[in-house]
């Protein structure tokens, strides 16, 4: 069977600074296979990319509110640069922020800890996945500095615009963008194998399927969704790459190709992709709400089944992105039906989360505020999606700012609120210190309130007929009035305020890490296994002879037979 070279040093007590394995110093971090270190690498890379993506939003929003302005820290924005900024903002936020932070960082950190394992089952493949991911990020960043600049054909990269350099005027950037995205896909395919097989096989003794914390399930189901949906887009990307570099005509109508084929391949992946990032955020929200409402999740199996149903249905809705794209009009009716039906399991999921609050004892800590904000804001994103799934309404709303506001009301809760929720909740475990809760709350309100003032004006602009990816609305009389510009200014100034408050977060992180109160093993009095080990956990997570066994589910809060209102999974009955 398996050849097991067990590390003889594992029995010795050792702390955070492990001297017994492999290279020392900086090399240890570059070459580590420890899932927690790889998680940190993904986390910090993702957060750095978020700063870059946020900077891009700052630049283009300044241009939109004050056309022709020389943006401080950038200069004047040309139409070509504008297209590059919006293209790369979108690409970065989805592929280099949401996915690495929510799936790779928290998946890597939490899954082994929450199932009572000492690492992932394929640590070297894990390391390889991060290295490929880092390479993809570097290629994308490098693309901004080549002749022509970064790719300017939108994150959706529709050909013929994306296939022909003379059309998009960013020929080298376009190919580098495509290669960066393809490498990112490979990194996540590799990472997914670890998450899926580790969850399936390496659980602590006694941990049955329904004892697994829901955030682990969510990350693994998301990985499965990703793996099953990205294939056609990889095929499509190879074809686009060949069109760009070899002069093939896969998407060129003049040579028997079809531009709409790309759209189908892209969105067949693109739609499940939004659930790939949604599921981990919901998982994080569930963990935090259970802990701070001191309540068992209302319907563990219901959550699981509706999640799987959502995942399966998500493969059948993609063409709602293409209602007016020239598809057969009869097909549109099919996709309206499937798209509206998918609102049913998602609504159910949200209802279950809301119902969990009933009978709880709710403590409004910073992580809990983020989790509750996720629900409140995502509801807006979810309901505005109905307008776009209804084909008749979508005729008007397609490509307007209504779409943009809708997906920011889904993506922002997912990627930003979800991240801050997870980060503030697991910070004590990851770094061994408590974050300052007052600063946390200031950061929370300073983010959430401005967020709404950015995107509600954008809903209004969309209703008024404003289309996307246009650098200056002065050419459109119906969009150039003072009322319209006031809305753009409100959105932009709110963005500036929101960005300013992020400094509070960084300040809190650094000062808490350096001199925050020491966190014990379980500062939140939670039930799941990660809270049974030291903060931060040592290499191997527990001493080899103290690996936990599991005796119950993860959400046994408020149990009537107990005096305490929580009952950790690892405590024998």
């Amino acid at each position: 069977m398996a050849d097991t070279a067990v590390d003889v040093h594992r029995g010795e007590p050792h702390g955070h600074d492990d001297h017994h394995h492999g290279p020392q110093g900086l090399l240890k971090y570059l070459w580590s296979t420890d899932h927690k270190i790889i998680a940190m690498q993904y986390l910090f890379t993702g957060m750095a990319m978020a700063v870059i993506g946020g900077y891009m939003a700052y630049v283009f929003r300044m241009q939109l509110a004050f056309p022709g302005i020389s943006v401080p820290g950038f200069g004047q924005v040309s139409p070509g640069e504008y297209n590059s900024l919006v293209t790369n903002h979108g690409s970065i936020m989805i592929f280099w922020v949401a996915m690495p932070v929510l799936i790779a960082a928290f998946g890597n950190y939490l899954i082994p800890l929450m199932i009572g394992a000492d690492d992932m089952v394929f640590p070297r493949i894990n390391r390889l996945s991060y290295q490929i991911f880092l390479l993809s990020a570097l290629i994308l960043l490098a693309s901004f500095f080549v002749r022509g600049g970064g790719f300017g054909g939108a994150w959706t990269a529709y050909p013929p615009l994306s296939a022909v350099g003379s059309y998009n005027q960013t020929q080298i950037g376009a190919t580098m963008w495509l290669i960066a995205v393809a490498l990112e896909f490979v990194a996540f395919l590799l990472g997914g194998i670890n998450f899926i097989t580790t969850l399936m096989n390496s659980r602590a003794p006694g941990m049955k399927a329904y004892d697994i914390p829901l955030v682990c399930w969510m990350i693994v189901i998301a990985s499965i969704l990703f793996m099953l949906s990205v294939g056609p887009l990889i095929a499509g990307a190879v074809m686009l790459l060949f069109d760009q570099t070899l002069g093939t005509g896969f998407y060129d109508p003049a040579r028997g190709g079809d531009p709409v084929l790309w759209q189908h391949l892209f969105w067949f992946f693109g739609h499940p992709e939004v659930y790939v990032v949604l599921l981990p955020a919901i998982g994080i929200t569930i963990e935090v709400i259970a802990t701070f409402a001191r309540k068992k999740i209302f319907g563990y199996k219901l959550v699981l089944y509706t999640t799987v149903a959502t995942g399966v249905l998500s493969f059948f809705v993609w063409a709602h992105h293409q209602f007016v794209a020239g598809i057969d009009p009869r097909m549109a009716n099919v996709f309206t039906i499937t798209t509206l039906l998918i609102s049913v399991p998602i609504a159910e999921l949200l209802f279950v989360i809301i119902a969990t609050l009933y009978g709880g004892s709710i403590r409004l800590t910073t992580p809990m505020l983020w989790a509750l904000a996720f629900v409140a804001e995502f509801l807006i994103g979810g309901v505005t999606g109905i307008y776009l799934g209804a084909s008749g309404a979508d005729i008007y709303f397609h490509d307007t700012y209504f779409v943009l506001a809708h997906f920011h009301y889904t993506f922002f809760p997912i990627a930003i609120v979800g991240t801050f929720c997870a980060f503030t909740y697991w910070f004590p475990k990851m770094f061994g210190k408590m974050m300052n809760d007052t600063l946390g709350k200031i950061h929370f309100w300073g983010t959430i309130i401005p967020f709404n003032f950015i995107f509600i004006p954008l809903f209004v602009l969309g209703i008024g007929g404003q289309h996307r990816r246009i650098y200056n609305y002065q050419h459109f009389p119906e969009l150039a009035g003072p009322g319209m510009y006031r809305l753009r200014e409100v959105a932009t100034i709110s963005l500036l305020i929101m960005l300013a408050f992020q400094l509070v977060f960084f300040y809190n992180c650094i000062t808490s890490w350096m001199k925050g109160a020491r966190a014990g093993r379980n500062p939140w009095k939670a039930n799941t296994l990660e809270w049974t080990t030291e903060s931060p956990p040592p290499h191997g997570n527990w001493p080899p002879d103290q690996m936990p066994n599991v005796y119950r589910g993860p959400y046994e809060y408020g149990h009537p037979d107990r005096e305490e209102d929580y009952w950790p999974q690892h405590q024998p009955t």
Binding site: D3, A5, M227
Partner: protein, 192 residues
């Protein structure tokens, strides 16, 4: 290089070895990649009956030869697995060697085939049928190369009596590479 395997690798809550689970998941994602590519090809082909003219120039007998080569190499991979099951690392390595030989033969035959076609002007840009032909067969060939390399590493370990369970795993991957070809062959060579 010595590497401490985590205790996590010793567990199997599902009863299925972790390595086998991993290979099946890899194959699932590969099926969707090739499925997407071949599905796109099929949709195009149905919409462009005039491609039959271009498709007539693929060399069916070479394709058939390569099919036979791959099937044989899959057979030797099965035999290698059987040897590994019995603990006979050296025999398994030898049989894996034959499989790799099959891969190399496949690639050499393909090089001649493509050189021939290119010299007749059937290049990747000649028309969209040929674009699909080279892309699909090329992607497949890349998987053959990658598979052969990994198989070489597994064979070296097996020869030394180590990691014999991996012989089965690379065998599963190899059968998949074979199956993809079984789809490519009729689509590119027979359907004219």
């Amino acid at each position: 290089m010595a590497h401490a395997k985590p205790l996590a690798t010793l567990r199997s809550a599902t009863g299925i070895p972790t390595g086998r689970l991993a290979v099946w998941w890899v194959l699932a994602s590969e099926v969707v990649i090739f499925g997407g590519l071949l599905g796109s090809y099929l949709m195009h082909r149905i919409g462009h009956p005039e491609w039959a003219e271009a498709a007539a120039h693929t060399q069916t007998w070479i394709g058939a030869l390569n099919t036979f080569v791959l099937l044989t190499s899959s057979f030797t991979a099965v035999l290698a697995h059987q040897a590994a099951e019995k603990g006979n690392g050296k025999e398994a390595a030898k049989l894996l060697g034959f499989t790799i030989l099959g891969a190399i033969t496949f690639l050499i035959v393909k090089s001649f085939e493509w050189a021939n076609e290119i010299s007749h002007g059937y290049t990747i840009t000649a028309n969209t049928f040929w674009s699909f032909y080279y892309t699909a067969a090329g992607l497949h060939a890349l998987h053959v190369i990658a598979g052969a390399i990994i198989m070489g590493v597994v064979a070296v370990d097996a020869y030394r009596g180590r990691e014999l369970h991996r012989v089965e795993l690379i065998g599963i991957y190899w059968h998949f590479v074979d199956v993809v070809w079984i789809f490519l062959f009729p689509l590119l060579y027979i359907a004219k």
